[in-house]
């Protein structure tokens, strides 16, 4: 039994790693296409039918590029920093239940690598550690823009960790558990049971903080081209840069899964749609939302970002938690 468990876990890890690396690549294609359509362009069209092999071409380019390390950089830290970003993004997925249970023959597969009782805390914690990737990369690069990007990383990620934590605190209070499977089971039984109806403010706060945590456009200050060239990734090229990219897109999927599981009913069956497809639809809606917002909204200034976090979002989150507690105590 023990051997079977180890083999099963290893297979799950490989599937998650391979699938989400491929999905991250595919998400870049989807992003370029959707952005292009929203700006009345066509996007990549030349490699393969409708440019669908562009991902492959980009991958070949990234893999075969020279692994360049600048002279002024701190070599070991410079080399290890992208790995931290990609690794934490994938480690965070360990505690996320992707699909409902299914059986192969007589063997029940639970599509979660590790069902720990502090799943949500683990995911948020590991995503928080992801801060070290850009921070160390920027500080080790020996470049002004990288240093500025690293400083922005530190303030942005640390600040919005607070909002993320406080915004999911209210749902955690209602459900009474940190396991994401418990969250999912709490919302079983139709759209009316979704937590988003009980905690709409927490949902919006979590989404806003998710945009900041994944470094997406309204809050893409870490690598905003017009201000800090490419931020912490200025000196990176080739596959090391690609690892940052994969980490960012894997984080997008993590936030999408988290938002679907905590607020939008997770992998429960939705009307006639089976649960596995329902959660995929929800996650892809969030991915689309990330791209959609990127096409629509300008990004904010760093001071506006901090103002938004500490003077608007955090007080609202605290008030939300307090009101939730009062309501739970008296009703």
């Amino acid at each position: 039994m023990e051997t079977a468990f180890i083999i099963e876990t290893i297979i799950k890890i490989l599937v998650v790693l391979g699938l989400f690396s491929a999905l991250a690549g595919f998400a870049t294609y989807v992003e370029r296409k959707v952005l292009a359509f929203m700006q009345r362009r066509l996007g990549p069209m030349h490699v393969g039918p409708y440019g669908i092999l562009q991902v492959l071409a980009d991958g070949i380019k990234l893999f075969t590029k020279e692994d360049f390390i600048p002279q002024g950089a701190v070599r070991p830290i410079f080399m290890i920093a992208p790995v931290i970003t990609a690794a934490t993004a994938f480690i965070a997925m360990a505690a996320i239940p992707m699909f409902p249970e299914f059986t192969i023959g007589s063997y029940t597969v639970r599509p979660i690598i590790s069902d720990m009782n502090v799943g949500l805390l683990f995911v948020l914690g590991v995503m928080g550690i992801g801060l070290y990737g850009p921070l160390l990369a920027g500080m080790a690069s020996g470049n002004k823009w990288s240093l500025l990007g690293a400083a922005r990383t530190a303030i942005q990620f640390l600040s919005y960790e607070v909002v993320t934590g406080l915004s999911v605190l209210a749902p955690v209070m209602i459900v009474g558990s940190l396991s994401l499977i418990d969250f999912n089971n709490y919302q079983a039984g139709g759209v009316g049971n979704w937590l988003v109806w009980k905690q709409p403010i927490a949902f919006i706060l979590f989404l806003i903080a998710g945009f900041a945590e994944t470094n997406r456009t309204p809050f893409d200050l870490l690598e905003h081209e017009a201000e800090v060239i490419s931020g912490y990734a200025t000196e990176y090229s080739g596959m090391r840069w690609g690892l940052f990219f994969i980490g960012e897109y894997a984080n997008m999927f993590t936030i999408g899964f988290l938002a679907s599981l905590i607020f939008l009913g997770g992998f429960n069956d939705l009307w006639f749609i089976p649960g596995a497809i329902a959660i995929l639809l929800k996650v892809f809606f969030f991915i689309f939302l990330f791209i959609w917002a990127r096409a629509s909204w300008p990004h904010v200034r760093p001071d506006q970002l901090m103002w938004l976090c500490w003077k608007v979002l955090m007080p609202i989150a605290v008030v939300n938690v307090v009101i939730t507690g009062i309501v739970m105590m008296f009703f």
Binding site: F37, R41, A295, S296
Partner: protein, 203 residues
């Protein structure tokens, strides 16, 4: 004149309107009110709506360049062409050498000889496109509308200076029917006949 109207229409200012800019807030309370007003107004959602509608409308403006090409303005000054007379098929060039003289980058070279009728005809007519700046003076000065600018704009080549020989530019005899009168730079205006004043012969 067909096709020229859209290039000549410069009257684009009819639909201008002034953007209303509200006075900037001075006190913190006014600033706070502005924040609330901006947060609760559905501006962000309107932005999302516009981009989504554009995507669903799928009104794509991309020109996929090597496969699709935009029409070129008639006044575009591309690679030169030497034209022939439409009826007889003789070369229009009379070898006067004005283009050679006016060329400010000295890239036109003509050799001429008198033919059996005593007319001067060019034996060689070359343009060094490594030097040509496509100013259009040669087409403007040509009294016979013989050297004109074509519509060709893809002239990247392996050689730094690609010489164009007479036979490259001259309309081939079998394509004489397809040769169109040049409407562009240096060509007579449509009302040229009316504008001509008779030269008094007796002084």
């Amino acid at each position: 004149m067909s096709g020229l109207e859209q290039f000549q229409d410069r009257n684009v200012s009819q639909n201008y309107y002034r953007v209303k800019i509200e006075p900037y807030p001075k006190t913190p309370w006014e600033k706070f009110k502005r924040v609330i007003k901006r947060s609760l107004k559905p501006d962000l959602l309107i932005g999302l709506k516009i981009t989504l509608l554009e995507m669903l409308r799928f009104n794509i403006h991309t020109i996929q360049y090597p496969k699709e090409k935009l029409p070129v303005s008639p006044r575009f000054r591309g690679i030169h062409r030497l034209l022939r007379l439409l009826e007889s098929g003789n070369e229009r060039c009379i070898g006067c050498g004005l283009c050679e003289k006016i060329c400010i980058s000295n890239c036109i070279r003509i050799d001429t000889r008198p033919d059996e009728n005593g007319r001067k005809i060019p034996t060689e007519y070359t343009i060094n496109f490594g030097r040509c700046i496509f100013c259009g003076y040669c087409a403007e000065v040509c009294p016979e509308l013989a050297i004109v600018h074509g519509q060709e704009y893809e002239y990247a080549s392996e050689q730094r200076a690609q010489f164009a020989m007479k036979e490259d530019m001259l309309t081939p005899l079998d394509k004489l029917k397809e040769q169109k009168e040049y409407p562009g730079f240096g060509a007579p205006t449509p009302a040229a006949d009316k504008l001509i004043k008779k030269t008094p012969l007796a002084y």
